[in-house]
């Protein structure tokens, strides 16, 4: 079927397009205007804005921890009063079905789950395959597992580590490699309650820095497009701005992605011993072209923090709102689920909010700063439209800031920042750059041959309204959303890499699992046929 989107303002930074024009779609791909043919379907999008489908690189939408959060907080899901138009606390809901629907309604077509624990990979993929409409992907976690730490302790060569990483990615169908407070969760098991970049992991002798370097090297050796995705040490601790700066240094000029950097921008100055260090971190990011970051913006509402950083989550249990939580000290990372309510009246929450916005606005290159709320840790992904409004309008920021404790704003630079994101920059940050970062050449742009993932928005003075309900959304050329409502359900693919490795590693792992656990190594693998839908994966080429 030949589809024409006629007369919209096409914003496509990859192809340097920002102007009125037509967009042609055929067989799920964007095509050149076909000479002499009549379209089967015409959508008049005059006055609308046409962008590629948005890509979220870091959103916890599937896996064991996400599921534990659902179990912990049934009250956030309850349709308490069926007559209410808006469900209570709808903003913190995340069933797989709703995840797909709500992302699609905002014009998102690809979402990456950033924390797939290797031994829970099946649960993660079952949930991902239950998310409708979107393409998905998952980043596999390593960095606290006994096998890797033992390799490092034994001083094994980088080749062995790369083989292990590749074998794990292959078994778990990961799109990239994530490490979470490397060594911290393992240290937690030995009653360590604070763990920095150069602290040694008990009994393994290695440090967070060494684990980080080894995994960075492995990603490089395997030519995995997405750089190592790092959840650094000391998340959320006042004064951790020094950790952020040291971690940027520790990348030694090699590609590194720093996740939810907002949570690492805290100084310890001022009367409350809590201030924003975002300006210093942004300056360091600006000076380190090898580093990419996503923000993890926090917004004021009820949410739940979900993390495999068990050490951090354990320390946060006292701040749970409501007062309940789950901490589990499982193999490797373990994890913790701690509900939290960010409040406008709270000094620290106000500083956190400002920190995130400072990062967005002070990092100059939109190709290196990514749009996330670390869903649901900073805020549910349903708040994205509000965040877009804050980025694109200084006035909206001032209005929101006026409701906060002014003493909190005084320890940030936010009030002095005038920058407003342009539509083109938004398109880079949410489309072009994520595709590049993940090595997805087929999306994030509207050039010929690209996937026909397209979002059409109706310009509105109310920016949140504009991004909250897309006028039209196409996934692989299928019209799936009309005016914010899903009109057609379909199933997307899960993106994965398949780096080659020496199969001797499989034998070695089999021996390890057999010896330590008495189970077969491949019982944790996720072969295609286990998943409920045919042909669930799309492979992303390993070539940097």
């Amino acid at each position: 079927m030949l589809i024409l989107l006629k007369g919209g303002r096409i914003v496509d930074p990859v192809n340097n397009r920002d102007g009125i024009g037509d967009l042609w779609i055929e067989d799920g791909r964007i095509v050149a205007p076909p000479a002499g043919r009549q379209p089967d379907q015409i959508h008049d999008v005059t006055g609308k804005i046409v962008m590629a489908g948005a890509i979220d690189i870091h959103s916890h939408i599937a896996g064991g921890n996400v599921n534990t959060a659902r179990l912990l907080l049934p009250e956030l899901h309850r349709a308490d009063a069926p007559l209410q138009k808006v469900l209570p606390l709808a903003s913190a809901k995340w069933s797989t079905f709703e995840t797909g629907v709500r992302y699609a309604a905002m014009g998102f077509t690809t979402v990456i789950e950033p924390a797939l624990a290797p031994h829970q990979a099946l649960q993660g993929h079952l949930e991902l395959s239950d998310v409708p409409i979107l393409d998905k992907g998952a980043l596999t976690i390593l960095g606290n597992d006994d096998f890797l730490l033992s390799l490092l302790r034994e001083g094994e060569k980088p080749g062995a580590i790369a083989d292990y990483v590749a074998a794990t990615l292959a078994a778990t169908n990961g799109l990239g490699l994530k490490t979470i407070n490397a060594g911290g969760a393992t240290s937690f098991k030995y009653n360590v309650r604070a763990f920095g970049l150069d602290d040694a992991v008990p009994f393994y002798g290695t440090t967070s820095r060494k684990i980080l370097e080894a995994l960075q090297q492995a990603v490089d050796d395997l030519k995995i497009p997405h750089p190592l995705h790092l959840h650094a040490n000391n998340l959320g601790i006042p004064g951790n701005v020094s950790t952020a700066l040291a971690t940027i240094e520790a990348a030694r000029g090699k590609p590194l992605h720093l996740a939810h950097l907002q949570f690492y921008c805290y100084g310890d100055e001022g009367d409350h011993g809590f201030s924003s260090g975002a300006a210093a971190v942004a300056a360091a990011v600006n000076a380190a072209p090898n580093v990419t970051v996503d923000v993890g913006q926090s917004m004021f509402r009820q949410t739940v923090t979900i993390s495999s950083d068990v050490l951090r989550q354990f320390n946060a249990v006292g701040q749970a709102r409501p007062k309940k939580s789950v901490i589990f000290d499982a193999d490797a990372e373990g994890g913790g689920v701690v509900p939290y309510h960010y409040r406008e009246t709270e000094f620290a929450n106000a500083v956190q909010w400002a920190c995130g916005l400072e990062l967005f606005l002070l990092i100059d290159d939109p190709w290196r700063v990514f749009f996330t709320t670390d869903h649901p840790n900073g805020a549910p992904f349903t708040t994205y439209p509000e965040v877009f409004a804050l980025l694109m309008s200084r006035e909206a920021r001032a209005e929101a800031a006026a409701r906060l404790p002014q003493a909190a704003l005084a320890v940030t630079t936010l009030p002095s920042i005038a920058r407003e994101y342009t539509l083109n920059e938004i398109a880079i940050m949410t489309r072009a750059a994520p595709a590049k970062l993940l090595g997805l050449k087929d999306r994030g742009h509207l050039g010929e041959g690209g996937l026909a993932d397209v979002a059409v928005y109706s310009p509105d003075k109310d920016i949140a309204k504009m991004f909250g309900a897309a006028h039209l959304v196409f996934k692989d050329g299928d019209l799936v959303v009309r005016d914010g409502t899903v009109t057609h359900y379909r199933w997307g693919k899960t993106l994965k890499v398949n780096p080659g490795y020496d199969k001797a590693m499989d034998r070695r792992l089999s021996g390890y699992y057999d010896h330590h656990f008495g189970v077969s190594h491949n019982m944790f693998a996720v072969p295609e046929h286990i998943l409920p839908r045919p042909d669930p994966f799309q492979e992303v080429e390993c070539a940097q």
Partner: protein, 268 residues
């Protein structure tokens, strides 16, 4: 002034959500506006006017003539004023109410008085399971006010009770006062198994205690000024409860499987 009367004309053919029919939500509404309020819980639309004959009056007092176990959420979130039901109600009657007086002449379903925080809820007949308890995931059941059941209550009455007083004049099902955080629960009839299961603090007074769990520890029989105080304060609401508290009381402390600072009292 005359109360607002809603006379149920026939047994409804679906469960109804009557939460919109509270004094604070009907204040200033005409009979016509009240008749148009939707109360269905399925896709079949049902309005107040379809079900009830409305006799206009001051909505500060609402009288339901007739009742049905399909009337859910009666008096949900009641803040003040009065609701009188001259029949049965379904689940969640008086849930989250914070003030006012709610009287049900007949039986109530599960979660009656769930998360009550103030005011007074009286059930003339029997109540279902989880009397005053929280819904799934919520941390607290009743946090204030007074809840009286003249008949029997189902299992787990007073689950996660935090503050306030529950009096069951009939018998209570299994696990009354389960996971109690604090507060007072009185049962005058028979009691099912394991009262006070995992209670942290609070008082359970039982006229006819079953065998207690071994995690409740015998602290002996005592004359307590607190008991005579309770007796006097409860007398206007329940003579039976007043009588129970005026006797010499045997005290068992527990549940020592949880915090262990609660107590079960019964006549020595």
């Amino acid at each position: 002034m005359k109360p607002l009367v809603l006379a149920l004309e026939q047994e409804p053919d679906q469960r109804l959500d009557l939460s919109p029919l509270s004094p604070h939500r009907l204040d200033g509404k005409s009979a016509k506006e009240i008749a148009e309020i939707e109360v269905q819980t399925t896709r079949e639309k049902v309005t107040v006017g379809d079900l009830f004959r409305i006799r206009p009056g001051d909505a500060q007092t609402i009288v339901f003539e007739g009742g049905s176990t399909r009337l859910d959420n009666v008096g949900l979130g009641l803040k003040g004023g009065e609701i009188i039901v001259e029949g049965d109600v379904g689940k969640c009657v008086g849930r989250s109410m914070s003030g006012g007086n709610l009287v049900v002449a007949g039986d109530a379903g599960p979660y009656a008085g769930s998360a009550l925080s103030g005011g007074r809820l009286e059930i003339g007949g029997n109540a279902g399971d989880f009397l005053g308890g929280p819904l799934e995931g919520e941390l607290e059941g009743v946090t204030g006010g007074l809840l009286i059941v003249r008949g029997d209550a189902g299992a787990r009455a007073g689950d996660r009770l935090r503050r306030g007083t529950l009096v069951i004049e009939g018998s209570a099902g299994d696990y009354p006062g389960s996971r109690m955080i604090a507060g007072t629960l009185v049962v005058l009839g028979a009691t099912g198994v394991l009262p006070g299961y995992l209670m942290r603090r609070g008082t359970i007074a039982l006229a006819n205690p079953p065998e207690l769990a071994p995690t409740f520890l015998d602290c002996g029989a005592h004359e307590l000024a607190f008991a005579s105080l309770s007796s006097r304060l409860l007398k206007p609401e329940s003579r039976g409860a007043a009588k129970l508290f005026s006797s010499l009381l045997h005290r068992f402390a527990g549940d020592s499987a949880a915090l262990g600072k609660g107590e079960i009292l019964f006549p020595a």
